[in-house]
Amino acid sequence: MQHRVDTGLMLAVVSVLAASLVNLYGVSSAVGSGLLMRQAIWIVIGLALLWACSFVRATFWEKAAPKIYALCLIALVAVLIFGQVRGGTRGWFVLGPISLQPSEFARLGTMLMVAAFLGKREEDRLDFTAFLIVSAIVAVPVALVLLEPDLGVALTFGPALVIGWWLGGLRPRVWVVVALLGVITAGVAWTTLLKPYQKERVLTVLDHDRDPYGAGYQVRQSRIAVGSGGLTGEGIGRGSQSVLRFLPAQHTDFAFAAWAEGTGFIGGSALLIAFGVILFRLGMLTERTEQRFDLSFAAVVFAWLAFQVIVNLGMVLGWLPTTGVTLPLFSYGGSSVISTCATLGIVQSIWRHRFVNQ
């Protein structure tokens, strides 16, 4: 028995993608108009991929997960050797006009692998070996991504790890240990690993008026942009913060700020609701499916998308430091659109085959 695709999820995804194109059009005076057509092409490819993935039987993904995961690890190693450097990060394969970021796809492979591992488990609790395995599944690709180094993308692997622990059933005392380790790691990172500019970014979150023209500049300009949008916005492509280029990275990290300036609280809310619908439909899948793999994958994807939405909006609204985490489906970037569409395609495939038993 097969079902139709989840229409609610599809409508929300297409809405966000359409809004992203409108936003790119609006900021084209600041970032150039060439990006619009490129992104439109990526979106068409992404939607086609989503459609294709949704026809594949759900069980295929569970069985193929280890192979896909292995392929992703190979790609991550290859990009460290053959990849092209952009902005200090060796993370791109470039073939003529096309450039692909394997780390975006490796996240999908990692999420599949975590779900497949959880799906095979019959126990309700994670023993120590299982804990190590789940941790390693995520840690290996994260380490490779950090070697590029791309902190922003590496962070987006985090939800898969936490969901792996949480659904798998990590014992409370291990959570305490993990939390303690986390605090210690953060402390060590603060004193040794983090660069001064990164620390400044964190400090400006705590004190918005700190260094408003240095480390706090981006977030300050972002808040000015969002705030001056008001209830109804200044109009697409009319926001002064965006047009006069006060707003940094307005097609990528701060795309939401440009959108909020142009369309105001109404447009901002609409976009937020569209993301809410996507997350809600993912939540519905966890309610409807009877398979542990299906449920785990839906939960991991849910956590990942929620993480990116929250971290990105938290940064745009001034609650979190700037980390380079983009808004999925909305920020400019081909690899991100393609990998997100592929991920949602697998979600649709699970939705369609959710009652099929062999």
């Binding site: 023209y213 240095g214 969002v226 705030g227 937020l272 909006l313």
Partner: protein, 608 residues
């Protein structure tokens, strides 16, 4: 019941526990999303007006950070071009409340003409946040006046910049050159050029452009509504241009200035072995520093309307009849063609009739019997009339071409003149008239349709001094030694010619015997500008019809180092005017010694 198979067991694994756990995550996430939505409402709906206010007061300025151009040094390390600090006045037209008021203020203060400023406003691109450079090289007084009214005109800003300065002014004007503003639509072949940018117009400033030019930086600053700088957002630092050491020797250059005095003319000094230009002076000269500021119409007309054309570089843009300085080269041609030998002699009666026309020797009384060496020493015209007749115009032209005449020396500047070697073919093609046999006779003493530049002459005499190498003249030391053209000449023939040219200075009858005390060789030339009907009378010729005076030679004789070409426009006799001038240059050159900065293009650190 035996129980279901294992595979079914796995599929049937109870998802309820997982579902409970995932619900916790889902509820948590929607809680946070709700908070974010509240935050969005707070920023946009509740505080919206306050943030809008901030957006309006946000003023980002892009302030250019000019890169200093590389300095130019002579081979001894003497500064030929430097940068002096200067104040620039920037206008940010987007920020002005009423541009007309700003224009009126600047006009009243005498800082800039209103018309010029309006033209600039009209020409600029909209929405770039970049300022206009309204005025450069402001005086302290102007700076003070703008500063005093800063709060009335927040769109004005005064920033530091550079003004090019040439400490030797007129002495090195043509060779070092000056800067000019890039014209509308012109990129000069460089993508990174910005409008209004200065580039080298002529001379070394032009030749060394790529090395000397720095990359301008830009600073992005946030300013308050009254133009006060609040903070810097971003800075792309300026990359200074690199310094350049050139082949010029300022001491020889100074001697050239002294040698020409008030006369118009040219002095070129070459290293006979490498082609390095040691001096290149064109008189009258001009002060290149006037081009560093905006030229006033008076200053411009003073330079451009000067009947002497000081902007013309007489060293390689002016072409002149060579007169007798061509004779050594025709002698070599005759020897190489086996038409004459050193013993071949003629009898000079003071004139000779060829093709039914009488051609005079410069010496009325004649020279009597002259062979090669003495022909050069006394510069006997009759000898060369007959030699020219033997050679014929085609062979003369072909040999002159081989010795580097009639084509640019590729010193570098694109505006170099080729000169002219007249031939029957040229006559038909360019003049549209047939070649007259008498013209060949004129060419054989360097008159008629034959024109050369001073630098061609200097190089040709360097070739005599170095044994047949036509060197590549250059001002910027090349990374690898420049290739010379080798002309395979019979060494014994060359030796006779050289001996003849030594006699010009040291012989008792030599035309440049006034230089006797110097260890040099060379040839005088007195090039007729026009033939007067009352030829030979003692009437003083008007200045513009006076002969051009040449002396070209080299020294020291034993181990030649320098070739010197001196041309004095309308100076009179080569022996009486040009030779003494050349003596001044030779004295300086022979004392100059090796350069302190010999080893190619040196860096003096990164500019500044």
């Amino acid at each position: 019941m035996a129980g279901p198979p294992a595979s079914v067991m796995r599929i049937r694994t109870d998802p309820v526990l997982f579902r409970h756990r995932s619900r916790v995550v889902i509820i948590l996430v929607f809680g946070v999303l709700g908070l974010l939505h509240l935050k969005l409402a707070q920023l946009q709906v509740i505080q919206g007006d306050a943030w809008s206010q901030l957006a309006e007061n946000n003023r980002l300025r892009r302030i250019p950070v000019p890169a200093p151009r590389g300095r130019i040094f002579d081979r001894q390390g003497v500064v030929l071009a430097d940068n002096a600090p200067a104040w620039q006045l920037l206008v940010f037209p987007d920020e002005a409340e009423d541009l007309e008021q700003t224009v009126a203020f600047l006009t009243d203060q005498g800082i800039i003409e209103g018309r010029d400023l309006r033209q600039k406003f009209a020409a600029r691109r909209i929405g770039t946040m970049a300022p206009l450079v309204a005025a450069e090289n402001l005086s302290w007084e102007h700076v003070a006046r703008v500063r005093a009214h800063q709060s009335d005109f927040p769109e004005l800003s005064i920033v530091g910049g550079f003004r090019r300065s040439y400490p030797w002014a007129k002495t090195t004007a043509h060779v070092v050159g000056y800067l000019r503003r890039l014209m509308e639509g012109e990129t000069g072949g460089h993508d990174d050029f910005q409008p209004d940018q200065l580039i080298g117009a002529i001379g070394i400033e032009n030749l060394g452009e790529d090395r000397l030019r720095g990359v301008n930086g830009e600073r992005r600053v946030v300013v308050s509504a009254v133009g006060r700088q609040l903070g810097m957002v971003e800075e792309d630092g300026a990359i200074p241009g690199r310094d350049l050491a050139v082949t010029i020797d300022t001491r020889i250059q100074l001697a050239a200035v002294e040698a020409l005095g008030d006369n118009a003319g040219a002095v070129v000094v070459l290293d006979v072995n490498t082609g390095a230009v040691r001096a290149l002076y064109s008189s009258p000269s001009f002060d290149p520093n006037v081009f560093s500021s905006r030229l006033s119409p008076e200053q411009w007309s003073e330079i451009s309307d000067d009947p002497q054309h000081p902007l013309q570089n007489r060293c390689f843009q002016g072409t002149y009849p060579p007169g007798s300085t061509i004779k050594p080269f025709l002698t070599l041609a005759g020897l190489e063609e086996d038409l004459i030998d050193p013993q071949w002699s003629v009898y000079c009666r003071g004139s000779i009739t060829l093709y039914g026309h009488t051609f005079r020797c410069w010496r009325r009384g004649g020279h009597g019997t002259v062979a090669m060496r003495r022909a050069l020493e006394v510069s006997c015209d009759v000898y060369f009339y007959l030699l020219g007749q033997k050679l014929g115009i085609e062979r003369m032209a072909s040999w002159l071409e081989r010795f580097g005449f009639g084509r640019p020396t590729a010193l570098g500047p694109a505006q170099e003149a080729s000169g002219l070697i007249g031939t029957p073919e040229w006559s038909r093609r360019v003049r549209g008239t047939p070649w007259y046999a008498g013209e060949s006779v004129s060419v054989s003493i360097g008159q008629g349709p034959v024109l050369v530049t001073a630098i061609q002459m200097a190089r040709a005499f360097a070739m005599l001094a170095n044994g047949g190498y036509l060197v590549q003249p250059h001002l910027i030391p090349p990374a690898t030694p420049a290739q010379s053209e080798f002309i395979p000449l019979d060494p014994s023939g060359l030796k006779v010619v050289v001996a003849g040219l030594e006699q010009v200075v040291s012989g008792s009858e030599g035309t440049a015997r006034s230089l006797k005390e110097l260890p040099v060789a060379g040839k005088t030339g007195t090039a007729q500008v026009a033939r007067l009907p009352d030829e030979g009378s003692n009437v003083e010729r008007p200045h513009h019809l006076q002969h051009h005076a040449w002396f070209v030679g080299w020294g020291p004789i034993d181990d030649p180092e320098f070739a010197v070409a001196v041309l004095v426009e309308h100076g009179g006799g080569g022996g009486s005017v040009a030779a003494p001038a050349a003596a001044t240059v030779f004295r300086a050159a022979l004392q100059s010694g090796p350069g302190a900065l010999e080893a190619g293009p040196l860096d003096f650190g990164e500019g500044g």
